[in-house]
Assembly symmetry: C2
Amino acid sequence: MSLIVQKFGGSSVADAESIKRVARRIVETKQAGHDVVVVVSAMGDTTDELLDLAEQVSPNPPGRELDMLLTSGERISMALLAMAIADLGADARSYTGSQAGLITDSAHGAARIIDVTPGRIQEALAEGAIPIVAGFQGVAQDTKDITTLGRGGSDTTAVALAAALDASVCEIYTDVDGVFSADPRVVAKARQVPVITYEEMLELAAVGAKVLHLRCVEYARRFDLPIHVRSSFSHREGTLVLSPAAIAAKIAEGSVMEHPIISGVAADVNDAKVTVVGVPDKPGEAAAIFKALAGAGINVDMIVQNVSAASTGRTDVTFTCPQGSAKAAMSALEAERATIGFESLLLDDQIAKVSLVGAGMRSHPGVSATFFTALADAGINVEMISTSEIRISVVTRVDEAKRAVQALHTAFGLDADGEAVVYAGSGR
Amino acid sequence: MSLIVQKFGGSSVADAESIKRVARRIVETKQAGHDVVVVVSAMGDTTDELLDLAEQVSPNPPGRELDMLLTSGERISMALLAMAIADLGADARSYTGSQAGLITDSAHGAARIIDVTPGRIQEALAEGAIPIVAGFQGVAQDTKDITTLGRGGSDTTAVALAAALDASVCEIYTDVDGVFSADPRVVAKARQVPVITYEEMLELAAVGAKVLHLRCVEYARRFDLPIHVRSSFSHREGTLVLSPAAIAAKIAEGSVMEHPIISGVAADVNDAKVTVVGVPDKPGEAAAIFKALAGAGINVDMIVQNVSAASTGRTDVTFTCPQGSAKAAMSALEAERATIGFESLLLDDQIAKVSLVGAGMRSHPGVSATFFTALADAGINVEMISTSEIRISVVTRVDEAKRAVQALHTAFGLDADGEAVVYAGSGR
């Protein structure tokens, strides 16, 4: 008998009918002979409604109290889900994050799990019950105050519990069938990816694919825990997130056909581009810029420095950061203007970051050539470039992002019913 | 510096504006030099809304899960109240019943407080903070599951905390100015009672006055803790609930004028009357009836047994119980029909219980005479009678209850601007 952790998001438990449907699904899994632990998010828009209430009361509420408020959301959904399961004749018991042993640091609103002590969950399992655990929340080790893990934190709760309980798989139920090669709203021919590595999933999550929470994937990779992303609205197989070795084993046993070279294409339109114009081209200038940004807590993503003009001895430094941080970035730099000695600042929020992710890039030369040829053929101008071992990202105009994603999706043979791409011989 | 426990009910924190108003009031008390501990109920109709949700999911939800669900209500109101207080520059911290040390038995939905260990509340007070505690809830000593104290339980939370913290007073804030001599919606000339004993308050609570939860008054009496019932919408003095000795001391020091002979008149229209017709008049028959009712968990209030008819050797036994239990009472009796040997059952839910309460009855003869004369003069028929040391209750037709209350209120000189009643010389 294996143990399965099933996580249901807010859209899967949005109302009484949905809760009953999810309850039936959980009981089916139990009746199929598995032990089941369920992790559940707050119903539908509950979290946003609670944030609205907080805003009406205080413009700047203390993090401790905001966490206390928001954690009432899962308390409601988990109790209702336990009731619905009980109504089907099974024994279900709900547990808060604190009761389930989700021990965190005390960073309210973005707490990190530092230990999982699921003694009560194990007791409930031993008695044949189905434990229903509140996602997204925990209790601080030092202050004993209630904490939250930040948006999407329920995925992390599920994976952390699955790891602590040595579950065979963590099933993340959502409103789509799994991970796709591109956003189906952008690329009609996007196809579902059957398997993907943790690394690819991390890169995709980092560049705008919203299926899984970044931290949850990191956690799963650390414990080599299989994640199964699937729909709560169908019984189809979803996407398995695994280690490369686990994927190789699945291919060997024949349960998976192949691990595609390219997993997907994504566009992120939430970044802005800041250019620091006329920076004296001497050692330490870039350091001064990024020290100022780090001091203001700005998350810098891509960085480009031009070749300096010989006549002036000055250069331009361009970087991207989340649009929400762009104004803070400008202020932080402006405050250091005299020290850094730059001439001016330019802000551009009409950009997109278009990324191609695939573990096969490592071993297949020519991916870069295909990538840039596809964009050139589509007449799309590339403003910045950055790469990792398994990702190529470029900055384009925001209104060209959709076309760029479509062109890349086709060029790499990802279109459903399309043919496999043939790579040119040159290195990337 | 004294410690004051302030309890705010759902109507006092029904929306963001009310919460901010209550926050200002709490901060005023703190600024006046008192330590303050706040107990708060769920916002407005939250509890009813959560019960609605539960009903949509399951017709008969487990008590453990219902308690988990309902306790999210105070979690929301207390966090919002703490935010509103923080917004005024004071340090407020919210605590669940479990965090505040409200230890109960495990009777879900109607748990009893068996211990209060408010260590975290005392720490917060020592640091100058205002603790905001969730009313109505606790944690079971044996199972560690979340429990609720039943409707109105927040009053009990407040009194229990006040007793454990050795507070000087427990202020219960509500939407009226205090305890009245009758329901102001029934008697326009009802007047606010300045002081009342625990015993009188218990009798009034038991006969339908809804100001204070019965168990809260019992708790306060046990610890001789002063309760101050007052309005959260005004700064007027409300009603002090005290021991007779404390009232005597207040009269001696001149802060209270006098303790009136009669505290109030109340009507309860939530009872039903069941008559067991043709019960054999022999020893053990009444016992068999009330054993059957006790076995079904029926709370029997008034009981009358007629003189038996000599010709038949049979009698009728009539009792009252809450309307909600009447059908269960009928079924329980019907199941024992052969054993008890009665002829038939009659159910009458068109009744009211009209009660007069006053500690002065003990020492002032003639109260009964005035009581029954007033009802007779008003042409109201009395169907059943029961009395305690400080209460007289009668059953009337439900549509005559209002007139009965008005007649008694006037007859005992309770009308505001009215004259004191003159008692006839005979004993009651």
